[in-house]
């Protein structure tokens, strides 16, 4: 599903962020990525949906060589991938419902399907009672859950979650984790970047630790 071969990435040539990273993530896998702040976790995820380019190496995602996708067909890659952004990226002048529905609208989904699926996604993160509120009227954790709902609403083949529980209390965090587990069971490949030791401890999935641009270790727990 996701394959990286010797991926090298430097924003400024003097300070590489990822140095020859190689990794194979099979369809249906659930992988944690961890590492200190600035280790390159977000960058790795951004490369997977081609938001950032990489300087060397090969990346295959969903059988596409993403270094070779022309600019105007990139969107076809991206709509197979749900992303929970570290900074949420909710639109301030849309309601929570509209924000979540947005991910379906841009794919030209049917109006009725949009309403149903959006409602389901909000129910899963426990936010139906806030559906008409605007993001700025939500608590940090509620915003984060909205971002999660949006990433999952169109049942993507791949889910990239960047620190999805940073603003959630332990109880809700494990609820969200089980949501991810459920999606994973249903076939979604999941890559989750996090610092949270709690989260890492709770699950039995492989953990990749990045440090200074390299893979420090790969842990298979459970």
């Amino acid at each position: 599903m996701i394959q990286l071969y010797n991926v090298y990435k430097a924003y400024q040539s003097s300070h590489p962020v990822l140095i020859d990273i190689s990794m194979v993530i099979r369809e249906g896998a659930f992988v944690f990525i961890t590492g200190p702040s600035g280790a390159g976790k977000s960058t790795l995820l951004k490369i997977l949906f081609r938001w950032e380019k990489f300087d060397r190496g090969q990346v295959l995602v969903n059988r596409m060589n993403i270094g070779k996708i022309p600019e105007d067909r990139l969107y076809l890659l991206r709509r197979k991938i749900g992303v929970v952004f570290q900074d949420y990226k909710l639109l301030p002048n849309k309601t929570i419902f509209e924000n979540v529905a947005f991910a379906l609208e841009i794919m030209g989904a049917d109006r009725k399907a949009i309403r149903y699926q959006t409602w389901e996604a909000l129910k899963n993160v426990g936010l139906t009672h806030k559906k008409d509120a605007y993001p700025l009227q939500l608590s940090g954790g509620e915003q984060q859950r909205t971002a999660i709902a949006r990433a999952l609403v169109n049942r993507p083949k791949i889910l990239l979650a960047d620190e999805p529980t940073g603003n959630l209390d332990p109880d809700i965090a494990s609820e969200i984790l089980s949501l991810f587990e459920a999606a994973n069971k249903a076939g979604t490949t999941i890559v989750l970047a996090t610092h949270s030791q709690d989260l890492l401890r709770q699950s039995d999935h492989p953990i990749v630790t990045l440090n200074q641009g390299r893979i420090l270790e790969t842990q298979f727990t459970g």
Binding site: F49, F85, E98
Partner: protein, 298 residues
């Protein structure tokens, strides 16, 4: 997909009401300038063609003209293209007219006890864009016909008037061009600012896999909408101005403006304004969005 984009554009206009209003306001006002300009242009034109209508051909006859010569000349004049009416003015009529015209300069000519004026034909020409040329042509072809003393159609006045018209037209076209360019710049700037205030949204759409065409369409629709509404408002304002002029000034300036009506810009110009502003709205938003999308291609 188009219906979707339309739906989305409407939602956007709703949720960015402030920006939308500011944008439409600016466009409406900006478009009022060329609108006003057209209004002035149209009215000036009709004003000038009123004056122009006064130009006519005078053919003065020799005092010793024969009956046959006079008939020939009249026939010739009547055949000139676009000639509408040929009037014969006898020496006596001319003298009466002359005396009436100079009645207030009493004493200036009272000592004249004989008539120094010749008989003449006055030829009215139909209106038309090259009326003056027609008159000039008629004058030239009549020149030298036996029995004609002299021909007068205010050559000098016409020459002045024509250079004035050329000057005015160059000036107006230049002005119109500048105006149009300026307005385009304002509108596209306004739309650029309004696109700029939505950069987050565009970024997000790219991030979550929206087709670039899907991203652009609502902006195009919005640009066209802003342009159209702006144009309609500006034409409304212009119509108000027109009504104001009609009620307040029409025919109140004595002989100078007697019979003058303020005309509204024609349907063609209205269509042009609306069309142009739709186009600019579309182009403006399309350019800005494309530029924006480009900036994300790494």
């Amino acid at each position: 997909m188009f219906r979707n984009a339309l739906h989305y554009a409407i939602a956007n206009i709703r949720s960015n009401r402030q920006v939308c209003l500011a944008s439409i306001g600016s466009i409406a006002v900006a478009l009022s300038f060329p609108g006003l300009f057209l209004f002035i242009f149209v009215n000036l034109n009709s004003f000038l063609s009123n004056w122009n209508r006064e130009v006519q051909l005078m053919v003065y006859l020799k005092d010793d003209i024969t009956q046959q010569q006079q008939v020939d000349i009249e026939a010739l004049l009547q055949q000139s293209p676009n000639a509408e009416m040929v009037t014969f003015i006898s020496r006596e009529d001319a003298w009466t007219d002359f005396q009436t015209l100079f009645a207030d300069k009493s004493g200036l000519l009272e000592e004249l006890d004989f008539n120094p004026l010749p008989a003449s034909f006055r030829v009215h020409f139909k209106e038309g864009p090259d009326r003056v040329d027609t008159i000039r042509g008629a004058a030239d072809s009549t020149k030298g016909v036996p029995g004609i003393e002299s021909i007068d159609y205010g050559e000098q006045w016409i020459a002045s008037f024509e250079t004035f018209l050329i000057f005015l037209k160059i000036f107006l076209v230049a002005l119109g061009g500048i105006l149009a360019m300026g307005v385009l710049l304002i509108i596209s700037n306004t739309i650029k600012l309004s696109v700029y205030s939505r950069r987050e949204e565009i970024e997000l759409m790219l991030l979550i896999g929206a087709n670039p065409r899907f991203i652009k369409t609502p902006f195009f629709l919005e640009g066209i909408f802003h342009g159209t509404v702006g144009a309609i408002i500006s034409i409304g304002l212009l119509k108000l101005l027109h009504l104001y002029f009609q009620f307040n000034f029409e025919g109140t300036f004595g002989s100078m403006t007697q019979g003058i009506e303020f005309q509204f810009i024609g349907i063609f110009y209205i269509a042009m304004i609306i069309g142009a502003s739709m186009l600019v709205g579309w182009l403006g938003s399309s350019l800005s969005v494309n530029q924006f999308l480009k900036s994300y291609q790494k």
